[in-house]
Amino acid sequence: MAQADVSIGTTSRRAGPRRRRSYVELTVLSLVAGIGLWWAAVASGMANPVLMPPPGKVLKAIIELTSDGTLAIHIGVSMSRGLGGFVLGTVIGVPLGILIGRSARAHAIIDPWIQLMRPVPPIAVLPLVVLWFGIGETSKLVVVFYGALFPILVNTVHGVRSVENSLIRAARALGASERQIFRLVVLPAAVPSVVTGLRLGAGMAIFVLVAAELLGSTAGLGWLIMDAREHFFTDQIMVGVIALGVVGYTINRGLLLLEHRLVRWRPAQE
């Protein structure tokens, strides 16, 4: 029997771990080529250097804004706002989503509100939020929270509701109580969907935050961009945009790592 086991195991799995060929050179080449094109466009006079500063000038601006600490301050301000709204969205969205996913009554009461409010772009509620909470930090926190909440909420509800019935039956037939089924089956089964919600929520948080900062603030990456525009410092605008790209990328990578840790049990998606 042991013999049979071994052969069954090896024949049905893939023949050896297939390693994805890495194309690091191509990635580097692509980045270099892009920056080269940018430089060439400006140097050849095709692009107006005032509107489109050459890479060298942007690099200089990055170094300046980094060395005098300006960039770090604005990144810090934006991050703490974004994080605040995101954490609030998580702390409220996940438990609320679990509740709605579990209780048909809660679903009947709360779901219509979600369905009505979800399609509204968070920016659209900003004017009202500003009237209610003023133009300061609170209104930004609220609007970021609003933006992050729905992806987190909706994905959590989905995760809790889409647990396979056969898993619940299996647990029941193994003697699990309803509480144990919730804790040991429903929650773990919902984790992948919740983490997806967190990733989408974080993206939404950044999106909404920057929009709010563009529209009215005294610090933050959005403000940095608007302020540079006032002074026609296109190089600094570029720095703000690049900083947003890097920050967003880093956050997404972090959450992906978290996802890999939490749902190691899932088959690798290829």
């Binding site: 029997m1 195991g9 299996a170 037939a173 003697g175 109580s177 144990q180 049990w265 899932r266």
Partner: protein
């Protein structure tokens, strides 16, 4: 130990399982139409018997098994185990599903320990039970794998070990080997017979393979479709191990095929 405590009815000739005049109707979701899945089904079974439920697709085999498992309630009639009315799932009735229903976030070992764990057994007991049943199904060395890293046959072995680790007195299996290739399927049939001989119990095994039923069963309950009824109850009095190609087995298979042949002709209409 997990058997429900009852009065000391030690010597009464009470059947282990008793299904009396059970009818199960479903309301079909789209039309307001009733589907009679089972019509007046009665069946008694003593302990230590291997019963195969045999019938064409849609004849109500799964429905009947789910009624015994306690996942469904009969529309009419009653299901009793040890004289007690079945009102829900119970750890004394282990279930093995066609789609394995393993908890994907738990390793093989933790899947097998799930039953003892929710029953409140000590860590040491849980581990000892898992050791024992993983060895019994020949998967000791795969204890730290996740379900998605296993072949279909291995997954079903885990599911069987998980059900047995709870020491149920009834084992219910719904086409457990239906998704396996022919060779693995035969190996699994042999192994299941060894396991249920080691720890005798009432086994109810759903299949639509006549040969599988004749190979495994002490008793074959043949069901007819629309509405599901018991058409025949055949005792297979051949000693184990049986030879799938022997004249006796072949004769039983032929007889039962003739019995259900009229049903098979109707099947494409479904």
């Amino acid at each position: 130990m997990t058997v429900p405590a009852r009065g000391n009815s030690a010597a009464t000739a009470q059947p282990k399982l008793s299904i009396t005049h059970v009818t199960k109707r479903f309301i079909s979701p789209n039309a307001d139409q009733e589907i009679v899945a089972l019509q007046d089904v009665s069946l008694q079974a003593p302990s230590r018997t291997f019963i195969c439920l045999l019938g064409v697709s849609g004849c109500g085999k799964t429905t009947l098994l789910n009624l015994v498992a306690g996942f469904l309630d009969p529309t009419e009639g009653e299901v009793r185990v040890d004289g007690q009315l079945v009102t829900g799932a119970h750890a004394d009735r282990g279930v093995v599903f066609q789609d394995y229903a393993l908890f994907p976030w738990l390793t093989v070992r933790l899947n097998v320990q799930f039953g003892p764990r929710v029953q409140g057994r000590s860590q040491a007991e849980q581990r000892a039970l898992a050791d024992k049943y993983l060895a019994m199904v020949g998967l000791s060395e795969f204890e730290n794998r996740y379900p998605h890293e296993l072949s279909g046959g291995m997954k079903q072995r885990v599911a069987i070990a998980r059900a047995l680790a709870n020491h149920p007195s009834i084992l219910l299996l719904d086409e457990p080997f239906g998704a396996l290739d022919a060779m693995t399927r035969e190996t699994m049939q042999d192994e299941l017979l060894v396991l249920t001989t080691k720890e005798p119990k009432l086994v109810v095994f759903v299949t639509h393979s006549v040969l599988e039923a004749v190979f495994l069963a002490d008793r074959i309950v043949v069901m007819s479709a629309r509405p599901g009824r018991i058409m025949a109850d055949i005792t297979i009095s051949l000693p184990h191990p049986r030879d799938r190609t022997s004249a006796e087995v072949t004769e039983y298979v032929r007889e039962i095929r003739q019995l259900i042949a009229p049903q098979l002709k109707e099947e494409p209409r479904r």
